[in-house]
Amino acid sequence: MSSQKQIKYESGFNGGAELTVMKKQPLMDSGRGNMHAVDVREDIRNGREPFSKIMSAVAALPADGQLLLIAPFEPAPLFGVLAKQGFKHESRQLESGDWEVLFTRQPAALPTETAPTSASHDFGHRTAVGQPNVTEVDARGLEPPQPMVKILEALASLPPGAMLQARTDRRPMHLYARLEERGFTGESQEQSDGSFLTHIHQR
């Protein structure tokens, strides 16, 4: 079955060799229809934001398409974003420590909520459930300065009057001055798991 699939690789990262290895992975056999693979490990390694690349691939998927994402960590925040677009996911960790996630569009399923509002499309960036004026950004699991990039990009498209909640692995010491310059203020609270939740709102 898998041999009949149409597989396209968007990343240049070790393309041919990666294909050989990945054919042995079970997730490749669990889907149906056309599969499009996106490898964002090189992007993340080079400090590039992978979200645009992923969402472009999602937008180009056929109705019965599947997206195989390969990332250096489990991209948990993305699950919620794509679930809203009718995708279910299966993830597993590879022997190399990387993660692969197979997103499958559910034809019968409609998004369970209305389409996200502005500034809610980012990788780990969504409107908080039950809090329409609060947008959440999950910037955990990223090497500096990516957390700051993610938060400030989300801030740039924040609707007037809305509030941003950002989750980071560490207290975002470099962020506060940049928030002040943009007319915002941030208060960070340490969470029970050692991460930080920063509440950002306009002054």
């Binding site: 979200f51 090497e143 470099h174 940049r178």
Partner: protein, 459 residues
């Protein structure tokens, strides 16, 4: 929470000063390889060592601490103004000291040493006041505090040694004020006290205070914050981390006394220091095993290789601390290898690795962080050449191997070759830092993309 971003210009100024000193020092070794090929108790070795230690290592470490201590420990620097004053004392002090060591004018070494020590006082006070603001004490804060104490003792010991090497006969006939006479009298008494100790042992004890107490303590303590930050991991055992810092303190205290007194017990305390490094290595390996970022970049590779070099340095420490070891031309050269591998191998290589993490971030933060979401900003990796970085890694490693072997066998020709390799590696770092700084001087911004993916992102 304070909103003042840590300064970018100040640490960069310290780093650039350090790089100039490093390149100057290595060029000096290429021109005069006898400095390493001969026994180290002479004016040129001491001058070069202080150029590396004060001009290169201390400059970068101080600049980095002004930036990293507040960030890593979640507080604000007590005073950037004091740090600016310290820079002036630091530069005048270390340049004067190196020059006066070279011409062997110990009186002027003492004077410039006081200028340097004034800067150190400002530095220690500034960081200590910053540490008092730390909201949550941890092993890194403990290590930084210990490092400050050892650094203060290192400078004090250095001044004592300089006082001990001065002669005071010329001051006897001077009709000076009472205060000056009291001061000179006090210095003579101190010189008398220092005469109880063997000069070379005092110098070695002073060197260990700085090399282990300040530099190694910081490498260990700060990496418990920085390696998890860069590799996306966490400390795996706080207890193990605390033990490594505690053993390092105990081992160094014992080593200082036993080296100074030429006691055979110095081997026992050397083993305590080595035990601390083993515990540190185990914890570092555990942190790396648990990392989420699988790729180990070149900056981290520089740092980890430097930490790996503690192994040959530790073996040499055991050999050189062995009771009854005779001092002959070969063991004398082993002492040179020990000092060279410790300072140019471990400490300098580790600092170079950390510079590849810190400088791009500082430049990026200074030039681009205000533009996020308003323009396309380059990634950190776009600020310098990874190929040059890799070439620098291999040429540095080759340079260390060639130079260490050449020192052991007193070969000036091969010391020159090895140091030329090291100088070429340093040049790659200088070029890369130049590329980074070009972004600081002239930021490279592009308008936000209007591609479909970008529209999707901001729709």
């Amino acid at each position: 929470m304070g909103v003042n971003a840590p300064s970018v210009r100040l640490p960069l100024t310290f780093v650039l000063t350090g790089l100039v000193a490093l390149l100057t020092g290595m060029s000096w070794l290429v021109i005069r390889p006898a400095i390493l090929a001969e026994y180290h108790y002479n004016q040129y070795v001491i001058a070069t060592t202080h150029l590396f230690v004060l001009g290169w290592i201390c400059s970068v470490v101080m600049g980095a601490m002004y930036q990293l201590v507040p960030v890593a420990l979640e507080t604000k620097l007590y005073s950037e103004k004091l740090a600016g004053w310290q820079f002036a004392f630091h530069v005048v002090g270390f340049i004067g000291m190196v020059w006066m060591f070279r011409v062997w004018n110990m009186k002027q070494v003492g004077h410039f040493g006081c200028v340097f020590a004034t800067g150190v006082g400002l530095f220690v006070y500034n960081i200590a006041r910053t540490l008092r603001r730390v909201p949550k004490w941890n092993v890194t804060a403990t290590a930084v505090t210990a490092a400050l104490c050892w650094f203060s003792l290192t400078v004090t010991a250095g001044l004592f040694i300089a006082i001990g090497k001065c002669s005071y006969e010329t001051s006897e006939g001077l009709a000076t004020a009472e205060g000056v006479r009291t001061l000179v009298g006090g210095l003579r008494q101190l010189a008398g006290f220092m005469s109880h100790f063997d000069a070379i042992s005092a110098m070695h004890a002073h060197a260990h205070l700085g090399g282990v107490g300040f530099f190694t303590m910081l490498i260990v303590g700060v990496s418990y914050k920085l390696i998890p930050m860069f590799a996306l991991s966490e400390i795996q055992s706080t207890r193990r981390a605390v033990w490594s810092v505690a053993l390092l303190n105990v081992g160094l205290a014992g080593s200082f006394v036993t080296i100074l007194l030429r006691s055979p017990w110095k081997l026992a305390f050397a083993l305590v220091v080595i035990a601390a490094l083993v515990v540190y290595g185990i914890e570092l390996a555990a942190i790396l095993r648990a990392r989420k970022r699988r790729v180990v970049d070149w900056g981290i590779k520089y740092f980890l290789t430097a930490v790996g070099l503690y192994a040959p340095v530790s073996v040499l420490a055991v050999v050189l601390a062995w009771p009854g070891l005779p001092l002959n031309p070969f063991t004398g050269q082993l002492e040179n290898v020990y000092g060279f591998l410790g300072l140019i191998g471990v400490v300098s290589f580790a600092i170079m690795g950390m510079l590849y993490k810190i400088v791009p971030f500082l430049v990026w933060f200074g030039s681009y962080s205000r533009q996020i979401g308003r323009a396309q900003v380059p990634a950190l990796a776009d600020l310098y050449s990874a190929k040059l970085q890799a070439a620098g890694y291999w040429s540095y490693l080759a340079g260390l191997i060639v130079t260490s072997s050449a020192i052991m066998f007193s070969s000036e020709a091969f010391v020159r070759c090895g140091c030329a390799l090291l100088a070429s590696s340093i040049s790659t770092l200088v070029i890369n830092v130049g590329m980074m700084l070009s972004h600081y001087i002239r930021p490279c911004l592009k308008p936000l993309s209007t591609s479909p993916s970008a529209i999707l992102k901001t729709a």
